[in-house]
């Protein structure tokens, strides 16, 4: 058996890892579970960091007028909050899930390129150290918005552009290496008998997301390079004085930026497509339609970018093209939402914490999807553009969407990761506190935006005062609620009820065929065909 030999060899080789202790174990590790853990902790620390910045923003906006921070520092807060949450929290968290789960789900012994895997994680802390260090410099941190529109980031930069650009380059390299690893692992290391259409949907969504990353992260690298040379080396890509065009920046940026927002939501679809069938005790409704829907969302994401730019003075046919293409995305997304609901329909539902987060995801993500549909319509977008309505929209998608799915996934697999059940009461507190506070935080923002409150401004007109106060209270409560999650995770690592190999009776998938906690090395020999078949009941 050829694969046995491979597995045996890598097993021997990796035994060294066991002997290393302390910091060295984590620095030198090439084990996918270790690296997954590193990614997850890093992402959570970044979530708290970005969250702390958001707390200052909400404190400033608690009342009209300027209370705590200067307008320029406020701009730095909103910019770095966005950058950290996108590149530091959501994306690495998903990569952490990919590292932990994909090899176990496809019956592979590890990621295809373990050494590169180590690198792609360990350059990340340096990227964010560079970004955050600019807070302590004379120039201050980037203050041009996470979208870093030229000329704000070139002509009018406060001097932080170089730090910002290098940080983004490192984040990009990390993401690209991570994505290449995911694609190679899925293409080459699937256990014999695990055909593409037998892969769990979770694996499919990461497969497609990795392709998106490979396609658009280099474009981001290109656009920040142009920014760098425009600012410091006298080129004129975006400078009208030298024949460039600042609007072109927005085109190139959003050519990256729109696929990027799907990079942050497709893996979330994968997670809830795993948890909802498990707690509905039914197979996933419409597995293959889910695969095709995910692929079409990914493809469509390349031809909708200018819907972020309706107010730049595009001709009518451009506006119509991008409006209709954007609205088209609602079709595959609708297929997904219907499939999740159909999976729950007449299922034997139970409401463990992962399921609670998943159901909240389906409802609240759909709200975010609908406000996206409203924003897609050119005529009304002229009213919504750059208001709090946009802020409400993307926080519903990214917080109650991506982040809630991450919580669902974390609670679902914590028993596998730690070998202990999480504390049920703590997790329920976390869920209900988060659910109530997140809606208090983001729902009134819709109305603030419709009433005309602009985003990214530290002060506002008096008529917005009441809503902003409630939003800030929701924000503080939501921030504090995340500490409950931290407590629940630490408690779960330290002890708790011993978890069986498969703690959820409705769960399917190869990861539940190994012990809890998952041994350091799993599937050194590929799983038997019957396990693969059993693990994919939704194919029946």
């Amino acid at each position: 058996m050829t694969t046995d030999v491979i597995a045996q060899d890598s097993h021997d080789e990796h035994h060294d890892d066991h002997k290393m202790t302390g910091l060295k174990r984590w620095l030198y590790t090439t084990n996918h579970k270790d690296i997954g853990t590193l990614y997850l902790w890093f992402a959570f620390i970044m979530l708290l960091t970005g969250g702390a910045l958001a707390m200052v923003i909400r404190a400033e906006l608690f009342q009209p007028g300027l209370q705590f921070v200067e307008p320029d520092f406020f701009n730095q807060l909103t910019t770095v909050h966005g950058l950290i949450m996108v590149f530091g929290a959501i994306m690495p968290a998903f990569t952490g899930f990919a590292n932990w789960m994909i090899p176990m789900m496809i019956g592979a012994p590890d990621m295809a390129m373990p050494r590169m895997n180590n690198w792609s994680f360990w350059i990340l802390p340096f990227a964010f150290a560079i970004l955050l260090s600019s807070f302590f410099m004379e120039s201050g941190a980037p203050n041009f918005g996470w979208t870093f529109y030229a000329p704000l980031s070139t002509t009018y930069s406060n001097g932080s552009t170089a730090f910002f650009v290098f940080a983004v380059h490192i984040m990009g390299i990390s993401s690209i290496m991570g994505a290449i690893n995911i694609v190679v692992t899925i293409m080459n290391l699937r256990a014999p008998g695990m055909t593409y259409m037998k892969m769990p949907l979770f694996v499919w969504t990461f497969f497609i997301t990795a392709y998106l990353l490979i396609a658009v992260m280099p474009v981001l690298a290109g656009v920040v390079t142009m920014l760098l040379t425009d600012t410091y080396f006298g080129t004129s890509f975006f400078d009208a004085a030298g024949g460039g065009d600042p609007v072109m920046f927005q085109h190139i940026f959003w050519f990256f930026g729109h696929p990027e927002v799907y990079i942050m939501i497709l893996p979330a679809f994968g997670i809830v497509s795993t948890t909802i069938p498990a707690f509905s005790r039914k197979r996933l409704f419409g597995y293959s339609s889910m695969v095709y829907a995910t692929s079409s969302i990914a493809l469509l994401s390349f031809i909708v970018w200018a819907h972020h730019m309706f107010t730049t003075g595009m001709p009518l046919f451009g506006e119509l093209f991008f409006m209709y293409c954007t609205m088209l995305i609602a079709v595959p997304t609708g297929v997904k939402v219907f499939n999740w609901v159909a999976t729950m329909w007449k299922g034997a539902l139970t409401f463990e914490t992962p399921m609670l987060f998943s159901i909240a995801f389906v409802i609240l993500f759909t709200i975010g999807g609908f406000s996206g549909l409203m924003l897609a319509m050119t005529p009304v977008d002229f009213q919504y553009h750059d208001t709090y309505f946009v802020v409400a929209h993307f926080h519903y998608v990214l917080v109650t969407g991506s982040l809630f799915s991450l919580y669902a996934g974390a609670y679902y697999w914590l028993p596998k990761w730690t070998g202990h059940m999480y504390n049920d009461a703590l997790s329920k507190w976390h869920f209900w506190c988060s659910l109530i506070s997140v809606n208090l935080l983001f729902f009134p923002m819709h109305f603030l935006g419709l009433a005309g409150m602009p985003r990214r401004i530290p002060d506002y007109a008096l008529q917005f005062a009441d809503f902003n106060k409630w939003v800030s209270i929701g924000g503080f409560a939501f921030g504090l609620s995340q500490l409950i999650f931290l407590a629940a995770v630490i408690k779960c690592i330290r002890g708790g009820e011993k978890a069986p190999a498969k703690p959820w009776d409705g769960a399917i998938g190869l990861e539940w065929t190994v012990a809890s906690p998952a041994p350091y090395h799993t599937f050194s020999t590929p799983p038997p065909q019957k396990d693969i078949d059993n693990a994919n009941q939704h194919e029946h």
């Binding site: 021997d12 390129m113 080459n188 280099p218 474009v219 290109g222 004085a241 065009d245 072109m248 451009g318």
Partner: protein, 184 residues
Amino acid sequence: MPMSDDKQRQANSNNKTAKKLLVVVAAMFGFGFALVPLYDVFCDITGLNGKTNTAAVAYEASSVDESRTVKVQFITRNAKGVPWKFEPIINEVEVHPGEMKVVSFYAKNNAAHKIVGQAVPSVSPGLAAGYFHKMECFCFNEQPLMALEDVEMSLQFYVDLALPEDIKTLTLSYTLYDITEKSS
């Protein structure tokens, strides 16, 4: 311990896939830069970004369409920190498509040193840019002005007969940049 053949084969096949993906990465990085000329060509054809001709063109209208009148407005603005007074002498003119027109702009360097200025034009709506032809424009050249020197600069233009019917007003906007460093 020597690598077994199978392990070697697996590693080779992984490297092969990874290399293919790296080519995609390199290609997409190049594509980001290719978007720059592509954008220019696309805008040139469609006139999307309101850029007008950058070198003088000859008067080529076959007639003057007196049945239509188009309002042409002029606005000026200085880029951040350019200490010039820069403004149109008249704010708007009414022209017939095909009719040649000359208008003037006034500029004065209020600084105590020489500044080389460059005015960059843009037409709104962007689609009209392709129908706005300049036979002579101060924006084709750099404008060096000594301290406190002033100048009246002319613009000679006509609006194309083929200007779409629904466009009744054109706004020509000039932004003035300080290019002293680049021109020296």
